[in-house]
């Protein structure tokens, strides 16, 4: 069994979503799938954390949502990175790296 994402540092899920969307528009299910695949099934994301996170991104105007047709021709909501979102991704990425580096330093200290 993998990890539920909310266990991670705050904001991590948003960063991962932004990263995932960097490759192009995707619907919610595809985002969850993609996260799982890329993390070799380590990162599991449930509806109850994915969709609130997407709403937060919408509210910040980092992504936008549009209804479109899915692979099997069902109506699905596709999320796209906005220019602000793209810029923000770099910022968040840097912050995250800093944070991880700092944590590593603490853990490696003798």
């Amino acid at each position: 069994m993998g990890r539920e994402i909310p266990d991670l540092l705050p904001g991590t899920l948003e960063l991962l979503i932004l990263k995932t969307l960097g490759r192009g528009p995707m619907h919610g299910y595809a985002i969850a799938q993609r996260l799982r695949e890329l993390s070799d099934d380590v990162l599991q994301v449930g509806e109850s954390s994915l969709y609130p996170a997407l709403q937060r991104l919408l509210l910040k105007n980092w992504v936008k949502a549009e209804w479109g047709a899915s692979e099997n021709n069902r109506r699905a909501r596709y999320y796209t990175l906005t220019p602000t979102g793209r810029k923000q991704m770099a910022v968040e990425r840097q912050d995250f790296d800093h944070l991880i580096f700092a944590i590593q330093k603490v853990l490696n200290a003798t």
Binding site: S48, Y51, L59, R75
Partner: protein, 914 residues
């Protein structure tokens, strides 16, 4: 900003948003299921597994939704929506609660809006904190003697000199202490009453009030007596009289002069007096023209002005105070001049000006009503407490009906706090609806209240329209109320033992704590009601005692008619005296009229008093001062019309003319205190008058009659020495009030037109400015007492109604709860009488406990209202007994109805229900 917009759009498009999100979640779940099926799971298995993997869609939906709302708002909105649904399901409960709260909060808001208008709201002037009145400004009219104590009326000379010499005020303004209600003509139309305030040219500059159109008055409008026929209109008069149409340059005729309107003041400003609203401001330089019967700008001893000054920035009140008095005494010494006696010099050293903060303006109405209103505020506060107790009781009853619901929710994991918050949200909803409705009630009621505090002739112009302060008050009252009635039941409801509450449908389980609590609440209600009724009875009885005071005159069947001789072009001279005599004669001939007489003052119209009476053979004593002598100038029939009996000698008559020896009628008190004998007929006296020392008309006046003592200004005044002079011998002021005695059978509907015709026959141009009855004037003099009596009675009644609802509710609920018990009792042979006695006995015990506490409360609180009582003490046994008996009767009645129901319980049905 963008976020705020997005959030708001979301709020408005919630339904669409929820639908979208649900669809999206369902899509997600379907794909997940597909995936699991592809891995070889069965359809059903896959469907469950997909659901399990994804967690609760409801939670996801909720949390996704919450992103868009502020979290506290999200929870609050949910709680309130839930509360609204609960209330909608119990409309009867909601209605009773909201109405109860609306009455309670409405009464409080109404009284508060009056207090706010009268006692709290600052004047709409620039930086009012810097303004200071010179003295209390409570005295109005004019004085003619050299100041010898705290002073508040000043001469025009003093105003000019002080303004020139002072160093602590930026500017000083003078205001005539009397608002002149004159008859004027606007743009050639007929006579109408216009309230004119005479002010110095510095008035608007001192107050920092500007014009919304045209200009305000300035020093250049107030230089030469009689030379500045200009006027500034008040905003409200402009709206009322002109409907806001262009007004600059319009002509208003007052007396012999025509004034040009040069400006309109800024909107809310209506002078420095709360409870007065001037229509026009006219320069003081026009005093003689506006008020031909009463003026004296040029006279140093005609002291008739109120002064208000604006302190220079940085000048401390103490510095200003001492600097002002230094200048005041120096100027007074100058005025008295070389002839100053040691006595006058000593007087001047005692004279002083107290600087009084003017931020709130001056108000006679405030003086009369501040203690009544404070007491009424306390009264309505208690009524609100009673209302809260009722609502708390209803909520308690409902809480026990909802025990099962609460138990279910708590066993499902809802936190206690969460449920308390939920219940408080429901209370808040009730409170807010009650407050909203109460606010509406209050705006209607506050207008009624203004009528209650007004005299019979015209309403006090008070701005009681709700402002921010009133709104804040209502909000505060609402929150306090919600906490009071909501908190206890909410905590109580969540403190329960889950298992029995769940096991049993909650039919008969009620915690004894709840019952005890609601009985305490009801007993409290009874206690407060007893205190309120006792207060109401005290006020009513003391009012009726005041109304039965012997006035010394007969107030029945007398009309009092005011005319405006100045508007008709009269001066104080022989022509005027002749006109008055003809009006008296002509009106007396009207069928149904028995007699008519003019007077300077009738009753409750102010007065004129002096203490500078010299009697040959008597030395003036310094003790004369407190016993000021009331002077009146009257037509020869006046004392007959008022039915003030002449005890000895004669009344005034036709024989007393300008050329005959000077005479006067005095009252018993005057005879006793100044002459030292009951009937000093034939003796003489003189009146010394600083104001017009040259006047000879007050010298060697002979006493020709002694009249019975009568009230002159108010019902509550002590007997004072009084002198009545015949107006034929004293042309000094306009006598503008005509008292007319008529037959009891004469209908006032036909009488008044006939009197108007009679006056018009003498002079068609003489305007009648007001008509009222003498008994109205008597009532008006105690309007504050009447208001307290009436309002406390109304609120006492409201308290009793609320308390009886409380008793009814708690008894009724107790019987429902004990249906089984009563069923058994009846099955075992209890008679109706026994059941009735049982239930009523409990109610009586409850009532007795409440009444006992209430009696104590009444005794303690009584001390606070002593000043408003007349002729009885707050411990008046009959008032307390009346309150106790009334409350016990009401309690038994309120308990009787449910008790009757208890006797009708069918034992079979009751036992089956078990």
């Amino acid at each position: 900003m963008r976020k705020l917009l997005l959030r708001l759009t979301h709020l408005l498009r919630r339904r669409q948003f929820d639908a979208d999100l649900s669809e999206e979640l369902e899509f997600h779940r379907a794909l997940k299921q597909q995936e699991l099926e592809d891995r070889g799971q069965s359809r059903v298995e896959a469907s469950f597994a997909a659901r399990r993997a994804l967690g609760s869609p409801a939670l996801a939906l909720d949390e996704a939704r919450d992103v868009w709302l502020w979290p506290w708002l999200a929870d609050g909105v949910r709680d309130i929506r839930y509360g609204a649904r609960m209330l909608a399901r119990h409309p009867g409960f909601a209605l009773v609660t909201i109405l109860t709260l609306a009455l309670g909060i409405g009464a409080n808001t109404a009284i508060f809006s009056l207090i706010n208008a009268l006692m709290l709201r600052p004047l709409p002037v620039h930086d009012g904190g810097q303004l200071r009145f010179f003295g209390s400004t409570l005295a109005t009219g004019s004085t003619g003697f050299t100041p010898n104590g705290p002073t508040t009326l000043f001469s025009h000379q003093f105003f000019r000199d002080f303004r020139r010499d002072n160093e602590v005020f930026e500017d000083v303004a003078a205001i005539s202490s009397v608002l002149h209600g004159v008859s004027g003509r606007v743009a050639g139309a007929g006579f109408e009453k216009i309230n004119v305030e005479l002010v110095s040219g510095s008035y608007f500059h001192t107050l920092g009030v500007g014009a919304i159109a045209g200009r305000v008055l300035s020093d250049t409008d107030d230089r030469t007596a009689g030379a500045h026929p200009v006027a500034v209109a008040s905003y409200s008069w402009w709206q009322r009289r002109f409907g806001g149409a262009p007004v600059l340059g319009s002509a208003v005729s007052i007396g012999q002069r025509t004034y040009e309107i040069v400006g309109v003041t800024e909107r809310p400003f209506s002078g420095m007096t709360v409870g007065q609203s001037p229509d026009l401001w006219i320069p003081l330089a026009m005093q003689r023209e506006v008020s031909p019967g009463w003026n004296g700008l040029e006279n140093t001893m005609f002291q008739s002005l109120h002064l208000v000054g604006r302190l220079k920035p940085g000048v401390s009140p103490a510095t200003a105070q001492s600097a002002t008095n230094v200048v005041f005494r120096r100027l007074l010494t100058d005025y008295v001049g070389a002839q100053a006696s040691p006595q006058a010099a000593a007087n001047i050293q005692r004279a002083s000006i107290e600087l009084i903060p003017a931020r709130l303006g001056r108000s006679i109405v405030r003086l009369e009503f501040s203690s009544p209103l404070t007491i009424l505020m306390a009264v309505v506060g208690l009524v609100l407490l009673i209302a809260c107790a009722n609502v708390a009781n209803l909520l308690l009853a409902r809480a026990s009906a909802r025990q099962r619901e609460v138990a279910v929710r708590m066993s499902l994991g809802a936190g206690r706090l969460r449920i308390i918050r939920q219940m408080l949200a429901e209370s808040l909803l009730l409170g807010a609806s009650g407050a909203g409705l109460g606010f509406v009630f209050a705006s209607g009621a506050s207008r009624l209240l203004v009528a209650v505090v007004s005299s019979s002739t015209e309403p006090v112009p008070l701005m009681v329209r709700p402002d921010l302060a009133v709104l804040a008050f209502t909000l505060g009252a609402m929150l306090a109320t919600v906490l009071l009635f909501g908190a206890v039941p909410a905590f109580h409801a969540t403190r329960l033992n889950l298992v029995p509450a769940l096991k049993d449908g909650g039919s008969a389980t009620s915690t004894p704590g709840r019952t005890r609590l609601s009985r305490i609440l009801v007993a409290g209600q009874v206690a407060l009601s007893v205190a309120l009724i006792a207060g109401a009875v005290l006020f009513l009885r003391s009012f009726s005692k005041i109304m039965s005071i012997d006035t010394g005159f007969d107030k029945r069947n007398v009309l009092v008619i005011d005319v405006d001789p100045g508007a008709a072009g009269y001066q104080v001279d022989e022509r005027f005296n002749a006109m008055m005599a003809r009006v008296e004669q002509r009106v007396a001939q009207v069928p149904g009229v028995r007699g008519a007489g003019f007077a300077l003052f009738v009753f409750n119209g102010g007065g004129w008093s002096l203490d500078t009476i010299t009697i040959p053979g008597r030395t003036r004593s310094p003790n004369d001062h407190p016993g000021q002598v009331e002077l009146n100038i009257v037509g020869r029939q006046y004392l007959d019309v008022m039915r003030v009996p002449i005890l000895a000698g004669r009344g005034l008559s036709d024989r007393d003319t300008a050329s005959s020896p000077k005479v006067a009628v005095i009252n018993e008190m005057m005879a006793r205190t100044y002459f030292g004998e009951p009937l000093p007929l034939g003796r003489t006296f003189s009146v010394d008058d600083d104001e017009k020392p040259e006047s000879r008309q007050w010298r060697d006046v002979e006493v020709v009659g002694v009249a019975r003592d009568a009230k002159s200004r108010t019902m509550l005044e002590r007997e004072r020495p009084a002198i009545f002079f015949p107006h034929a011998q004293h042309s000094r002021y306009f006598l503008s009030s005509l008292a007319v005695r008529h037959d009891p059978s004469a209908a006032s509907g036909t009488l008044m037109p006939a009197i108007r015709r009679a006056v018009a026959e003498v002079d068609p141009n003489l305007p009648i400015t007001s008509t009222t009855t003498l008994s109205n004037l008597v009532d008006d003099s105690v309007v504050n007492r009447r208001a307290v009596a009436e309002l406390s009675a109304v609120f006492g009644l409201l308290a009793v109604v609320l308390a009886s609802i409380g008793i009814y509710g708690v008894t009724s609920y107790g019987i429902t709860r004990r249906t089984n018990e009563f069923g058994v009792r009846i099955a075992l042979g209890a008679q109706r009488r026994d059941v009735l006695r049982l239930v009523l006995g409990e109610t009586a015990r409850l009532g007795a406990a409440g009444v006992a506490c209430g009696l104590l409360l009444a005794l303690v609180a009584g001390r606070l209202v002593t000043t408003l009582l007349f002729g009885l003490t707050p411990y008046d046994p009959s008032a307390l007994a009346a309150a106790v008996l009334a409350m016990i009767a009401v309690a038994l009645l309120a308990g009787y109805l449910p008790a009757l129901r208890a006797t009708r319980i069918d034992p079979l049905l009751a036992l089956k229900r078990e």
